[in-house]
């Protein structure tokens, strides 16, 4: 940190404590010059010139000029020359933007042009507004009106350097510059992924969500032919902007009465984006991200920004259903609760509590996860409770429990992942599965020289951008990770001090590595010696390394061991206990972390406290006033087996389409058929519902209060934005009503009370309360009773004996061999636009318009060999089932690798191919170990992917908005120079 120094501000000597821009300093002094291109998430763009001040007698832009010792800063001068320069800049802005505020959908009190005109008390403009003579660009997500665009370049900066999709540019060579997509094509034909960054950061209505159009204002839905005369009349009668501003301010205030702005947390992946959702009755106008959002700031992906139509879908369940023979009938809550009460009591009396099983959801809130396990344990009397993290992240958690004691990310997205010198991703399609988190890596790499190494089967976006991309053989990650670790030790590059102070079992572990030579790794993984050495050297040379991994690691027979190997590598190199380093298992659902955190596990209470621990169990027994089972229960997979064995006869499952997302679904579905009584609770009639006896209509996140925990262990509150649709209810209310039918006498009126109870029983969350999570406030666990949270998970010690981490020797588990007949390996996972089987995202017409369904990616070489082209329909057969799907040919996959996204519940669903083979330590299905044979069914057909998809776009990378090109234009003169000229003339 630099030393404090003095400057002169408007004639007074001031002390400056740290290096910063003039704008930053002035803001702290509450002297904020006007600024339209500056955005706190984007920094100085220098395009609008409205923040001009005088520095040592010269006109400078406050946003980009660094303060230096002894600087003389003038924001106001006797002869008003600073104000004059700012006015010239602002006048140019108004020449590009027509002020028709009252009939503008953006007039919601936050239009920065409107507010600047008011603050600068501008009554007239010298430069008339003129059209750029280029039509409005529009797609189903957002629109761009060049005639309202002030060319501030925020959208370009956000697209190029924050989202790093590199689609938007300003073409400064045009006679009238404007924003263009790729090489000046339409939005839909470009590489735009519709993440919405551009609309979010736009200071006015130039770039705006289409959901706002004609909806936000009282007068904005007028007929098109009336709009232009109306604007002209307004201009004719307006004698200054003062009255226009007043009228539009009144109108904006009126909008507050009918537009609700509610903070919520995204319900898709585990990044935990939070934002305000703007609603008018049940209509969703837009998602408005906030710089205050701790995980995402102003960033979103297409699903978080535009994927909310499902909430109002006509396909939502709005009444309970009861099976009668081979059909369901709608019924009232009373009848369905009577039936559940009768069946549960009957089964408990006849077969005992362990004949019932409970499956919670990683889509639901922490409070709902807590109540579900409380219902199972405290009311029914069984530990048969699990959640769907069993399908994805349990192996990562296991690997971390073994080595460092806590099963969570070591740090934060912005403070650590974005700050790391080296990022290694293993088996993670980060840019599609965790898009906003990926933006932080892409930005750090592009702007700050972060090195990125990607190990994956498929050349996805991050692989394409990586400094080093390696393609180990499927399921061989443990081998190369261990070989790299051994090579580091062989070179003497291990962090001896760290190992001595903070790690146990070092010697035994080092000995266990003997077999992992480079030659062995080359043979097993197919990687080259040079690649292995480069990875080891990169880790050695980087001060901080963060390793990110996901399902490509965990969904294997040895998923827990590979996760352990990752943590071992980090321990050996001292990459824990410091900012920018650590282990980052990327959680897949919005509340995968929280579902387990809050006890929906067969062997652990909330906060990972063992049910076998007497002290812990007695604490819960005392609070719940009941005796609890000491026997760990069954996990998801064991429950399915128990159903087949006739030991488990009643299942209550919420918010999880287990009948399509579990592996070997033919086996799972046949288990459902054997159940004596099956209760499914969901927002849609899912595949799993088809097997139910009772279907309960639940409410999605927008219709309830609660909290989620994201991949960074961060608690965030979501607030109810809409009333539950029809007779649907929030899950916590349904669980409460069922519990009370079983004589539980629960009296919760609000989820905050549930959190208070959970926190009081869980030392790890002792200080968590709704008061401390107001608005965008958040807490990262563990949270001490006084509310102190833990952004960096390990600072002084590890929560293991002696406060030390431990190195854990692991053996490689060979992936299952399907035999030569099944000659193609099927990689599978997510795509950017659809979430899982797509029951939420397909309800968005806009998203479905761009990506109508599932497709199979086939490599060019395989396509040539088998006569496959875009649109060819094929059948894939594994020993467990078959799927039918149409192909696209792409070099994202190579050789005999196929990629089948999981975004369908239809005949292309991947889990018709997967087996019951699972991670040996956690029972997580080995989804990624699938081999098939392929038959061509229809050689020619329509491509499953429209050419309007972003994958066919043509990105145009550049850094920033290219303001130098603006300055070089013959029609540009710096406003300060104009003022200087005028003064010298006088």
């Amino acid at each position: 940190m630099s030393m404090p120094f003095d400057i002169m501000l408007n004639g007074k000597i001031q002390r400056v404590e740290e290096q910063e821009t003039i704008r930053g300093y002035l803001e702290k002094q509450n002297i904020e010059p006007p600024s339209l291109c500056y955005h706190p998430s984007l920094g100085a763009l220098e395009t609008c010139d409205t923040c001009i001040v005088k520095v040592n007698g010269e006109f400078e832009r406050a946003c980009s000029t660094q303060l230096k010792p002894g600087d003389v800063i003038e924001t106001e001068t006797m002869d008003d020359e600073v104000h004059e320069a700012q006015l010239i800049a602002m006048d140019r802005v108004l020449g590009n933007h027509e002020l028709y505020c009252t009939v503008c959908d953006f007039n919601n009190g936050n239009c920065e042009i409107h507010n600047t005109v008011k603050e600068m008390k501008i009554e007239h403009q010298e430069t008339p507004h003129t059209s750029k003579d280029s039509g409005v660009q529009w797609n189903a997500f957002y629109r761009y009106d060049p005639d309202q665009c002030i060319l501030c370049g925020r959208c370009v900066e956000a697209c190029q350097d924050l989202q790093v999709n590199e689609t938007l540019l300003i073409d400064w060579n045009l006679e009238r510059p404007r924003v263009i997509w790729d090489n000046d094509t339409t939005i839909d034909e470009s590489s735009c992924v519709n993440c919405g960054h551009c609309a979010t950061v736009c200071p006015c209505n130039a770039m705006m969500e289409v959901g706002m159009e004609g909806e936000a204002g009282f007068l904005t839905n007028m007929a098109k032919e009336t709009f232009r005369p109306m604007v002209d009349v307004t201009k004719e009668v307006e004698t200054g902007y003062g009255s226009l501003m007043t009228v539009s301010d009144v109108e904006a205030q009126m909008r507050e009465e009918r537009i609700e702005k509610t903070k919520t947390v995204c319900t898709y992946c585990g990044v935990g984006c939070s934002f305000d959702i703007w609603t008018k009755d049940r209509e969703i106008l837009k998602i408005e991200p906030s710089v205050d959002a701790p995980a995402n700031g102003v960033s979103t992906c297409v699903k978080g920004k535009f994927g909310w139509d499902f909430v109002n879908s006509e396909e939502r369940l709005t009444k309970p259903l009861i099976r009668e023979g081979d059909a369901f009938r709608e019924t009232e809550w009373e009848e369905v609760l009577d039936l559940i009460e009768g069946k549960f009591k009957e089964k408990m009396a006849q077969q005992g509590s362990d004949a019932l099983g409970f499956i919670s959801s990683s889509k639901c809130t922490n409070e709902e996860s807590y109540l579900m396990q409380k219902l199972a344990r405290g009311v029914i009397g069984t530990n048969n409770i699990d959640n769907c993290s069993r399908y994805c992240q349990s192996p990562a958690t296991m690997g971390l429990w073994r080595t460092v004691g806590y099963g969570g990310d070591s740090g934060s997205i912005n403070d650590d992942i974005a700050q790391a010198e080296l990022i290694i991703t293993v088996g993670s399609n980060t840019a599609e599965s965790h898009p906003v988190l990926a933006t932080r890596v892409k930005r750090a790499q592009k702007l700050h020289g972060q090195k990125v190494i990607v190990a994956d089967l498929r050349k996805h976006e991050l692989a394409d951008r990586a400094d080093l991309f390696v393609q180990p053989a499927p399921g061989s990650d443990l081998v190369w990770l261990s070989a790299v670790t051994k090579y580091i030790i062989d070179q003497g590059w291990q962090d001896d001090d760290f190992l001595e102070q903070h790690v146990n079992d070092v010697e035994a572990y080092m000995e266990s590595l003997d077999k992992y030579t480079l030659a062995y790794a080359e043979e097993v993984t197919g990687m080259t010696r040079d690649e292995l050495i480069e990875i080891a050297t990169s880790i050695h040379e980087a001060k901080t390394t963060s390793i990110l991994w996901a399902m490509g690691v965990t969904q294997h027979g040895g998923g827990s061991d590979t996760s352990t190997a990752i943590s071992n590598l980090l321990l050996i190199t001292g990459n824990y206990m410091k900012q920018g380093a650590g282990a980052y298992p990327l959680r897949g659902h919005n509340n995968v972390q929280g579902a387990s955190d809050f006890g929906s596990m067969p062997d652990r209470f909330p906060g990972y406290q063992f049910v076998t621990d007497d002290e812990v169990r007695h604490r819960f027994e005392k609070s719940w006033d009941t005796e609890l089972s000491v026997e760990p229960g069954l996990n998801n997979h064991e429950m399915v087996d128990a159903i087949h064995e006739g030991k488990l006869e009643v299942l209550y499952l919420k918010g999880e389409d287990m009948g399509i997302v579990d592996s070997n679904i033919n086996y799972v579905q046949s288990a459902f058929e054997k159940l004596d009584f099956f209760v499914v609770q969901d927002i849609f009639f899912s595949k799993t519902c088809e097997y139910a006896d009772v279907v309960l209509p639940a409410s999605p996140s927008l219709e309830k209060d609660g909290t989620f925990v994201n991949t960074e262990r961060r608690f965030q509150r979501l607030y109810k934005a809409l009333n539950p649709l029809g007779e649907s209810k929030p899950d916590w209310q349904i669980i409460k009503e069922i519990a009370n039918r079983l004589d539980a006498e629960w009296h919760y009126d609000h989820p905050g009370e549930i959190m208070d109870e959970a926190a009081s029983l869980t030392p790890m969350f002792a200080g968590v309360s709704y008061d401390r999570l107001e608005g965008y406030d958040s807490l990262q666990w563990p949270v001490a009773a006084d509310g102190t949270d833990t952004p960096l998970l390990f600072e002084k010690e590890f929560p293991l004996p002696e406060g030390k981490a431990r190195l854990w020797p692991v053996e490689w588990t060979k992936p299952i061999d399907f035999g030569d007949e099944y000659d193609l390996h099927v990689n599978n996972g997510r795509i950017l636009e659809h979430f899982h089987e797509g029951n939420m995202t397909y309800k968005s017409e806009a998203i479905t318009g761009k990506t109508p369904g599932v497709f199979l990616e086939v490599s060019p070489e395989l396509a040539k060999e088998r006569g496959v082209e875009d649109g060819t329909k094929v059948r894939l057969l594994s020993p467990y089932g078959k799927v039918k799907v149409s192909c696209i040919v792409t070099d994202r996959v190579s050789g005999n690798q196929l990629y089948l996204p999981m975004n369908t519940a239809g005949e292309g669903a991947i889990n018709y191919l997967t087996s019951s083979h699972a991670d040996k330590d956690t029972d997580t299905p080995a989804y990624k170990e699938v081999s098939v044979k392929m038959e061509v069914l229809e050689p020619k057909g329509e491509s499953p992917l429209t050419k309007m998809n972003h994958r066919y776009g043509n990105p145009q990378p550049q850094i920033g908005v290219g303001v130098e090109k603006k300055w070089a234009r013959s029609d540009y003169v710096f406003p300060g120079d104009i003022v200087k000229g005028r003064r010298s003339y006088k």
Partner: protein
């Protein structure tokens, strides 16, 4: 043994029961707001008597077309000028300083009072009485005030900003630009004539035999 099924029989609502329920809800609403509703009905009766309800009904039914007609009419007629003048009058009122104006108004009021009391032929007229009035301090003070006003009227205000609508400002700007363009175009022919002359002068050299 529950086989997979997608068949859902929707609950058939008994229309009579639903109707009855809705009637009951309405009844409760009416009773809860009885007094306000009575007032409202009385107002509605009067509006109906005056045909206002019919007018509103028709107007709202055709609102899009009517809005367009009104806006077009306002744009194309003097109506916009009237609105603008109204706004200008408001601005003018805002421009006046009442503290300065008030003593003047009081003085003017005094003058009116005196004028009101004056009876034609009641006093002796003639130049002499006029001249003697000039000695009256009140007449001298009044004349001084009048002179100041006359001075003010004579001040050059061309430099002061005129209140114009946005469109008028644009028009002024356009005129200024055109003026500048004309100035440029006036100078341009001379330049072309010079170049043209030079080229013509060069022609003989092009055909000159080497």
């Amino acid at each position: 043994m529950a086989k997979s099924t997608k068949v859902i029989h929707k609950m058939e609502n008994d229309p009579n029961a639903r109707h009855e329920q809705e009637i009951k809800e309405l009844e409760q609403q009416l009773l809860a707001h009885k007094e306000s509703l009575n007032e409202l009905l009385s107002i509605l009766d009067k509006l109906n008597d005056q045909e206002i309800l019919n007018i509103l009904n028709a107007g709202l039914g055709q609102s899009d077309q009517i809005t367009q007609r009104i806006i077009t009419a306002v744009k194309d007629t003097d109506a916009s000028k009237s609105i603008k003048n109204m706004l200008l009058i408001f601005q003018l009122l805002a421009a006046l300083d009442m503290e300065q104006l008030e003593p003047l108004i009081i003085k003017f009021k005094k003058g009116v009072e005196k004028a009101g009391k004056y009876e034609h032929g009641g006093e002796r007229g003639g130049y002499a009485s006029l001249l003697s009035a000039l000695k009256d301090p009140e007449v001298i003070e009044g004349t001084n005030i009048m002179l100041r006003i006359v001075q003010g009227l004579g001040t050059n205000v061309s430099g002061e900003k005129k209140t114009e609508s946005q469109l008028e400002q644009y028009a002024d700007r356009e005129r200024q630009l055109q003026k500048e363009e004309r100035r440029v175009s006036r100078t341009s022919p001379k330049w072309y004539i010079f170049i043209g002359g030079a080229v013509v002068a060069l022609v003989p050299f092009m055909f000159k035999k080497k």
